[in-house]
């Protein structure tokens, strides 16, 4: 798989990361290096091998259905660039 400049631009846009056009060739190159490195894994035959999800024998931890968090509106909003009347305020996003 090879990433060209337009694919790099698309990935950047989906991630909402601004990339100047002149930076795109280098970005596409970096993507290709990463993918090329990972593609080495295709050389390994994994037929019949169970996917390994953890290096230690763990199971998914579960919690009981108990409310023990929340009521911290000020903390939740503390990092927001703009907050009003208990809401995050963001530039208008209506479709």
């Amino acid at each position: 798989m090879s990433i060209d400049e337009s694919t790099a631009a698309r990935v950047a846009k989906l991630a909402r990361i601004k990339v100047e056009p002149e930076a795109l060739p280098a970005l596409a190159g970096e993507f290709n290096t990463i993918l090329g490195f990972i593609e080495q894994l295709n050389e390994v035959n994994v037929d019949g091998v169970e996917p390994m999800t953890s290096v230690t024998p763990q199971v998914l931890k579960r919690r009981a259905d108990v409310v023990a968090d929340g009521d911290q509106q000020a903390k939740v909003l503390a990092n927001a660039p703009d907050a009003r009347e208990g809401f995050f305020a963001v530039p208008k996003v209506v479709e």
Binding site: L14, L60, R62, V67, D69, G70, Q73
Partner: protein, 503 residues
């Protein structure tokens, strides 16, 4: 148990300018799991809290926070799957569905694309006319809800509330087995009924606890059968998805208008574009929701924060053993044990409260009579008050007393309605009302005969007429009832009047 067998309903056919067309519909229903806390955090799910009050740092996607799954939400999904006779996957896993929106602070929704917790099931959708459609459920997966954006509080800003962020949803995905707007609404109604019986979702559509995305395509008659035989989608038309519907009425209208839009495109030689659309009830039309260049690319991948979800068959069996009697079984039992009509059985099993009330009334009494009193008198009266069965001022025991009083000929059906009204407004016991108010009917034939004799003696002209035209006997019955304050047994009055008027 009585087996419920139905004919298959005919698919809805819409006549285009050139050809007839059939509809093919599949639905994705998002049902909010009834739970105290969210799917991956300990914040509350309670509706109507202050903005951003029910938010943990997990929900707000603060760096370093890790999700921990709520076991009860998993149990609810399993219970729902069992209620839809579905396969439960003991091994499932969570994936990230990536997209950017202000009310999704993580930048992704945790969902189950590749390995859902529930597999294939089915829903029997009765159409009320003796037909029913068996709609296959493809899968149910657990996922997080997003937050809420409010666009009308400020001219330039959108306001975001994360209270709903991370609340557990079950996405119930049907196969394209639904064949018309009415069937779509009935499918949603039946699903809602089953979830409410199971207690896994409150089914409140106004508050958004149940929402549906509706996939609509059109095909020529005969094509759908080819799809059914082969499961090859190429026999069907290109589908459009109408997003986020939470009203049965609008779902029907939206399907209707969307099908007509597609028919017009295809008959004019065009092609339907697969896309997401929104229904506008004010203009009764669907509109494209996103332009093509912004088409979503969700870049799904397994969530590295969460190990696979592995559950035990013994736990599934335990949940299965605690399932309540479900609507189809309850209806079959009501038909069988109480001799009800299909309609009455459907009305009485619509929800658990109604069914429970009816059963308490019908216990040891005539089932049909109990059904009549619950549906016609009680439900009618409650409806007049815009009240519900749980608020009924008349208890099942009290309604049962009324039925017993009729059955023992203590009161007539007509007086019973008066007794019911008094009991409804005062909460008094019917037996006591009849006793105290002297409403017991006169079954003493001697007393009735005397009353009939008086009326006949006082109205010789009417007697002559009635002897020529027996239909006029009703006038005498009416006079006798009036004279006895409505307390005479109508059956006895009828017999005596008829006998006395014989020439």
């Amino acid at each position: 148990m009585l087996d419920l067998t139905y004919d298959t309903p005919k698919p809805r056919v819409i006549a285009g300018a050139k050809y007839d067309w059939e509809l093919v519909i599949g639905m994705e229903v998002h049902a909010q799991v009834s739970s105290n806390a969210k799917l991956f955090s300990a914040a509350s799910t309670k509706f109507g809290a202050e903005p951003n009050a029910n938010v943990s740092f997990v929900d707000a996607a603060m760096p370093g926070m890790l999700p921990t799954i709520n076991e009860y939400c998993v149990e609810q999904a399993v219970r729902t799957g069992l209620g839809l006779k579905a396969d439960i996957n003991l091994h499932s896993a969570f994936d990230r569905k990536n997209y950017f929106y202000p009310d999704l602070p993580q930048g992704y929704q945790i969902s189950q694309l590749y390995h859902p917790i529930v597999g294939e099931g089915e829903v029997l959708v009765e159409m009320g006319d003796g037909t029913a459609r068996l709609v296959r459920v493809e899968r149910i997966h657990l996922e997080q809800d997003a937050g809420k954006s409010i666009h009308d509080m400020d001219p330039n800003m959108s306001f975001v509330d994360l209270n709903r962020t991370g609340v557990a949803l079950m996405e119930i995905v049907s196969r394209p087995d639904i064949r018309g707007p009415e069937e779509a609404a009935a499918y949603l109604g039946k699903l809602r009924q089953i979830l409410r019986y199971l207690g896994t979702c409150d089914g409140n559509m106004q508050s958004g606890s149940m929402r549906a995305d509706v996939n609509v395509s059109i095909c020529r008659p005969g094509d759908y059968e080819k799809y059914q035989a082969t499961q090859d989608f190429s026999h069907l038309g290109t589908r459009c998805e109408i997003k986020n519907m939470n009203s049965m009425r609008f779902i029907q209208a939206a399907i209707e208008v969307e099908a007509k839009r597609q028919i017009a495109i295809v008959e004019a030689g065009g092609a339907v574009q697969q896309e997401t659309r929104l229904y506008d009830p004010d203009r009764n039309e669907t509109r494209s929701m996103r332009s093509k260049e912004e088409a979503h690319d969700y870049r799904y991948f397994p969530d590295p924060d969460l190990l696979p979800l592995v559950i035990e068959q013994a736990w599934v069996d335990h949940i299965g053993a605690t399932l309540p009697e479900l609507p189809d079984a309850k209806k079959a039992r009501f038909l069988n044990d109480f001799g009800l009509t299909d309609y009455d059985a459907s009305v009485l099993t619509a929800d658990l409260d109604s069914a429970g009330y009816f059963e308490a009334v019908a216990q040891g009494r005539d089932g049909k009579m109990a059904a009549n009193w619950v549906i016609n008198e009680l439900f009618g009266r409650l409806k007049k008050d815009e009240s519900t069965i749980t608020q009924s001022p008349v208890s099942p025991g009290q309604l049962g007393q009324i039925i017993d009083l009729i059955a023992s000929d203590a009161i007539s059906g007509k007086i019973a309605k008066d007794v019911f009204e008094i009991s409804y407004t005062t909460g008094r016991d019917p037996a006591e009302i009849v006793e105290t108010e002297g409403m017991k009917q006169v079954t003493d034939t001697g007393a009735i005969e005397a009353a009939v004799n008086d009326i006949i003696a006082a109205n010789p002209d009417q007697v002559a007429k009635a002897r020529e035209n027996p239909k006029l006997a009703g006038w005498f019955v009416g006079q006798v009832m009036k004279a006895t304050g409505g307390k005479a047994n109508p059956k006895a009055v009828n017999q005596i009047v008829a006998a006395k008027l014989k020439p």
